[in-house]
Amino acid sequence: MELTLFIITALVALGSAIMVITRKSPIISVLFLVLTFFCLAVFYVMLGAQFIAAMQIIVYAGAIMVLFLFVLMLLNLRGDQNWEVSGPLRKWLGWIAAGGVLLVVITAIQSVTGFNTELDPAVGTVSSIGDALFNRFLLPFEIVSVMLLGAIIGVVAMVKRKPSTEDEEEGGEA
């Protein structure tokens, strides 16, 4: 039962992920991306990580995708734009390289025998995540907040009106 569910979800996830990168219209790409995220959420549930599954849907499939759509609609990109920048040779080289990497990674993962397949039922609960965040990973967790502050400053600095920066760049004398 679980295996069938996994196979179906995996196929949908793979298919929609391929659709994301092959569709010409960015809006359709984003919609397929939402589908991919839902499939990932199903994987998280199957691994016993309910909290992360919920976060996946609320944050990624919800908030971030809405932002994506907003930006795309504001930019008013048309689907028929030609993004082709490289010739067929580069395309084939890209496929060969990607296939090679895939082969190596599959071989690598298959070689591992000692993966722990027993699931700990407590691992994905909210309390165990809180435990990890506020004990072992307290420092990285707190640092993320400073990092986000830095990102916000960066965004504000990028979009705000510049106080006549450009003319001083020409007349700097120090």
Binding site: V104, V105, T107, A108, I109, S111, V112, G114, F115, N116, D120, A122, V123, S128, D131, N135, R136, F137, L138, L139, P140, I143, V144, V146, M147, L149, G150, A151, I153, G154, V155, V156, A157, M158, K162, P163, S164, T165, E166, E168, E169, G172, E173, A174
Partner: protein
């Protein structure tokens, strides 16, 4: 989950003082930036400078090696102690270079400082999670800084390339981390190294994981084949920011590599690949590609970008020795060589970009033509640039020579003859393109578009001071390097 609960120990915050001071200072600067309205750039830069001086003093005085603390997320050992001082001083110089270009804005300085906070953490990280958060913390402000010249499309291109490459390499890094975590079941770096040694001879998953990690870190240090972004980003970014990029995030990448070295050392030879072989290979490739790429450049910023790739290759030679010897005299020599080279590289590269920035601000461009005849009208800046370029080549009696000498000594003592030969051949190639600029400065007449020989360009006080601050160590360390080497040894071991 039967994990032993470790309770929070407030005493752990004492070794964390430099980082706390930096966070506090950042927040204060942010508020100051909101309150004041005039001379924003100068005020914030001055305040940031004072903050960094305080940090340097704290970092210089606190030299207790206490090991892991704060739930083993960070560690305070010799490497942390060294890099704290290194980052504080180099950020101070980088901020000094930025002042002339960002007079009315405080944000660039705040962004640089928040990136420096990430570097401090990176140098002390003892856990993959801390390491990754710290790397992102170094990168995110850098993306914004790369695109700060909004009217210049090249600056936007630089920012975009930096972000996309950064996201890609973060993905590689995380994939590598996930494989290694799957093999070891732990994120703590010492525990992981211990688990990985227990594995029988190199499992493919371990090899792939480590290669992916090396690729992810290689992006930060512009290691071949992860170097494609480097020339474009260095060229497009505002020049003071390029100076910052060429030294600080790169040194941060090397600090991360220091932390990850025990993992690479566990890679036993398998499928014709070992940890030493891997690092040796990328080291040789990086310096060769960097030097060959630099020969054809017309823009001095691009040329210095390729030269910085080549220098990453030289520094990686030291890492090859470090991986081959987990401890002992040779290990100590290699670590000292790498850190010594980083210090020397910091002074000469920041200095070179300082002069390039000065020329660009006055003449409007950075192609080699603008440097023609500089030696006639403006002898002092031209002399300084010549000193930096000779030092980058590694000619005696300058600091670059001593730095290279230490590195080559370590490589030769480790009997890596092939790597030493490639390194020496590269140093010879690099002479060609560095000397080309010097020849243009002294032996050519100024190009007709501008005549800088009649009226010397104005050399501001700050630029003069910064030139001195970078030239003096570049010269002094070439003849009197003992104290710095001793100081590094004292810090590390």
């Amino acid at each position: 989950m039967s994990e032993t609960v470790i309770s929070f120990n407030p005493g752990d915050l004492i070794p964390f003082l430099p980082e706390l001071v930096l966070v506090g200072g950042l927040l204060i600067l942010l508020i100051v930036d909101l309150i004041i309205h005039r001379n924003k750039g100068n005020t914030i830069a001055a305040a940031g400078g004072i903050l960094l001086v305080v940090l340097t003093i704290i970092a210089l005085t606190g030299n207790e090696k206490i090991g892991a603390y704060l739930f083993n997320a960070v560690v305070q050992d010799g490497v942390t102690l060294f890099f704290r001082v290194f980052f504080a001083i180099s950020a101070l110089i980088a901020i000094g270079i930025m002042v002339s270009s960002f007079k009315k804005e405080g944000e660039p300085f705040i962004l640089v400082l928040s990136s420096v906070l990430g570097m401090f953490l990176l140098a002390g990280s003892n856990d993959l999670v801390t390491l990754f958060v710290a790397i992102e913390m170094v990168s995110i402000p850098s993306y914004v800084l790369a695109g700060y010249k909004r009217k210049d499309p090249r600056s936007g291109e630089a920012a975009l390339k930096y972000v996309i490459f950064g996201a890609f390499s973060s993905g590689l890094l995380l994939y590598g981390f996930s494989l290694l975590y799957g093999l070891t079941g732990n994120t703590g770096l010492p525990e992981m190294a211990a688990e990985l040694t227990k594995l029988s001879s190199g499992s493919p998953a371990q090899i792939v994981g480590l290669i992916l990690v090396l690729a992810g870190i290689g992006y930060k240090i512009a290691m071949v084949p992860m170097h494609f972004w480097c020339p474009d980003v260095y060229e497009g970014s505002p020049t003071p920011i390029t100076a910052f990029f060429s030294v600080l995030p790169k040194a941060a990448g090397f600090a991360a590599l220091f932390r990850l070295m025990p993992l690479f050392a566990t890679l036993k030879p398998a499928y014709g690949l070992s940890g030493v072989g891997l690092i040796t290979m990328v080291s040789a490739l990086t310096m060769t590609f960097g030097n060959l790429g630099a020969i054809w450049q017309d823009s001095v910023k691009r040329l210095l970008a390729y030269s910085s790739i080549a220098h990453a290759g030289y520094i990686l030679m030291g890492f090859a020795v470090i991986v081959s010897m987990p401890e002992g005299e040779l290990y100590n020599l290699a670590v000292t060589a790498v850190l010594f080279y980083l210090v020397v590289y910091m002074f000469m590269n920041l200095g070179a970009f300082l002069v390039v920035d000065w020329v660009e601000r006055h003449l409007g461009g950075d192609s080699i033509g603008y440097f023609k005849g500089l030696g006639k009208g403006n002898p002092l800046p031209a002399l300084a640039l010549a000193v930096f370029l000779f030092s980058l080549t590694g000619l005696p009696p300058l600091a670059g020579f001593i730095g290279k000498f230490y590195l080559f000594a370590a490589v030769v003592k480790a009997k890596m003859w092939a790597l030493a030969m490639i390194g020496i051949a590269n140093a010879v190639v690099s002479l060609f393109y560095y000397v080309r600029i010097i020849r243009d400065m002294y032996l050519h007449d100024p190009s007709p578009e501008f005549d800088n020989s009649e009226a010397p360009l104005k050399l501001g006080k700050l630029t003069a001071v910064l030139t001195l601050v970078t030239v003096v160590p570049t010269v002094i360390l070439g003849i009197w390097w003992g104290p710095l080497a001793e100081w590094i040894k004292l810090r590390i071991f």
